[in-house]
């Protein structure tokens, strides 16, 4: 199926991790290439001249950028592995909607709720609570957002499932608790303890060290 390279960071980016998850789910062999975001390589600048960001997947010499676009590309090209997006057009539309919601409404708000200060932090906390309530309702009655198996939205929610609780702990800002969001809490535990997911997530200690210094 051709040569696959993944331009990634030094192992901590949830966006790169999404692509790693998709590649491993499909059993695709690839060459990971570390990228120093403070000193961007010519390869990165060549294949993502618009945003100059990781992750970038290079397949047969052609670059694909933006994590969720890459995941969808992987799902289309490697059809033999388990499906990441549903086949039904309506289910696909809902799946894409929730993945975008997580990117636009959940990640930035929860990050700022933990890492900013003062008024910005208070505002972000409120926005986070509102956004997380919608996710809480969406996961009700389902093991994963993708149903019985991990799917596109679960991959998109990797920050919520794994990075956020670590950042919360480091910064002392609790957002997702069992009392406030019992369904999301349960999903987080199932997700992080899933054998497949566990094997792909970066080490907790390494992430703690990284966020302590931010």
């Amino acid at each position: 199926m051709g040569e696959v390279k993944l331009l990634g960071g030094l192992g901590f980016s949830p966006y790169v991790n999404r692509v790693e998850m998709a590649l491993k789910l499909k059993g695709v062999e690839y060459e990971p290439i570390a990228e120093d975001v403070k000193n961007k390589s010519p390869l990165l600048l060549q294949h993502n001249p618009v945003h100059k960001k990781v992750p970038v997947l290079i397949h047969n010499g052609k670059g694909i950028a933006e994590s969720l676009i890459i995941v969808e590309y992987i799902d289309q090209v490697w059809q033999e592995g388990p499906p990441i997006l549903p086949k039904d057009p309506y289910q696909r539309a809902m799946t894409r909607f929730w993945a975008k919601f997580i990117d636009e409404k959940c990640i930035i708000a929860t990050w700022k709720a933990c890492c900013s200060t003062g008024e910005e932090q208070e505002k972000s906390k409120e926005e986070s609570m509102e956004a997380l309530k919608f996710l809480e309702d969406e996961i009700k009655g389902k093991k994963f957002f993708g149903g019985e198996n991990i799917g596109f939205v679960d991959i998109a929610a990797n920050f919520i499932g794994y990075w956020l609780p670590i950042i919360s702990e480091v910064k002392g800002v609790q957002l997702i608790t069992e009392e406030k969001f019992p369904n999301l809490w349960r999903w987080m535990n199932d997700y992080c303890n899933d054998n497949f997911v566990k094997g792909i997530l970066p080490s907790k200690d390494a992430l703690v060290e990284r966020f302590k210094s931010k």
């Binding site: 694909i64 676009i69 090209v77 309506y90 894409r96």
Partner: protein, 217 residues
């Protein structure tokens, strides 16, 4: 198999849905929403998170977000194909759709909502965005290649607001990005586009009203 679209006449995002359905020859009922007077219960129930138009209802099931709706339309009514055939081509279409969604309307809005130096900065940013999109077009007839396709629909829909940005930003799309201007002329000749776009002059008047509402003029 009833199709209904909750829309607003000036919404560039609504235009996308109109063009896509017209390209597929799908008939539908259009419901005009009063975004200022009071959104309908149907809109608020169908899109509880954002409360925004457009919304496509297919047998009462809501599909949200204009790019998402166009993907859905293309997958549900496969002929004629709007998305490119190759996986790589599709990823390029999705990439530029994402770029257009994040940049064009919001930066344009900074032009007509901005005050003083903000306007000049927004104009420069907007022209930079257009130049990137001009680069993506290259020497092709359309973003879809030889045929008008998905990305053409995604981008052309936003152009009904370009005269507004030109007026308040003091620039001309034709001078800054002539290839885009030429591509637009080609698209406007297409019946599905011509009948779906609002009157640009009416959009300018509408924006004038919004500026007054926000105390900018």
């Amino acid at each position: 198999m009833a199709v209904k679209v909750l829309d607003f006449w000036a919404s560039p995002y609504g235009v996308r849905v109109r063009v896509a359905l017209a390209e597929k020859g799908v008939s539908y009922e259009s419901q005009e929403e009063d975004l200022f007077g009071g959104k309908s219960d149907l809109l608020l129930q169908s899109n509880p998170i954002y409360g925004k138009v457009p919304v496509l209802l297919h047998d009462d099931k809501p599909v949200l977000e204009s790019s998402n709706i166009v993907y859905y339309i293309d997958e549900t009514w496969p002929s004629p194909h709007l998305m490119p055939a190759s996986s790589y081509g599709r990823s390029r279409a999705r990439f530029w759709t994402d770029f257009i969604d994040k940049k064009v309307y919001d930066v344009g809005r900074n032009i007509w909502m901005g005050k003083g130096a903000e306007v000049e900065a927004a104009k420069d940013e907007f022209i930079d965005v257009l130049k990137k999109l001009e680069g993506a077009l290259g020497d092709r007839e359309y973003y879809g290649g030889d045929q008008f396709g998905f990305l053409d629909i995604i981008f052309v829909s936003l152009s009904c607001w370009f005269p507004t940005y030109e007026k308040y930003g003091g620039f001309k799309v034709e001078e800054e990005t002539p290839k885009i201007a030429a591509w637009l002329k080609k698209c406007y000749k297409r019946e599905t586009v011509a009948k779906s776009m609002p009157d640009c002059q009416k959009v300018i008047e509408f924006v004038g009203m919004m500026r007054k509402m926000h105390g900018i003029e």
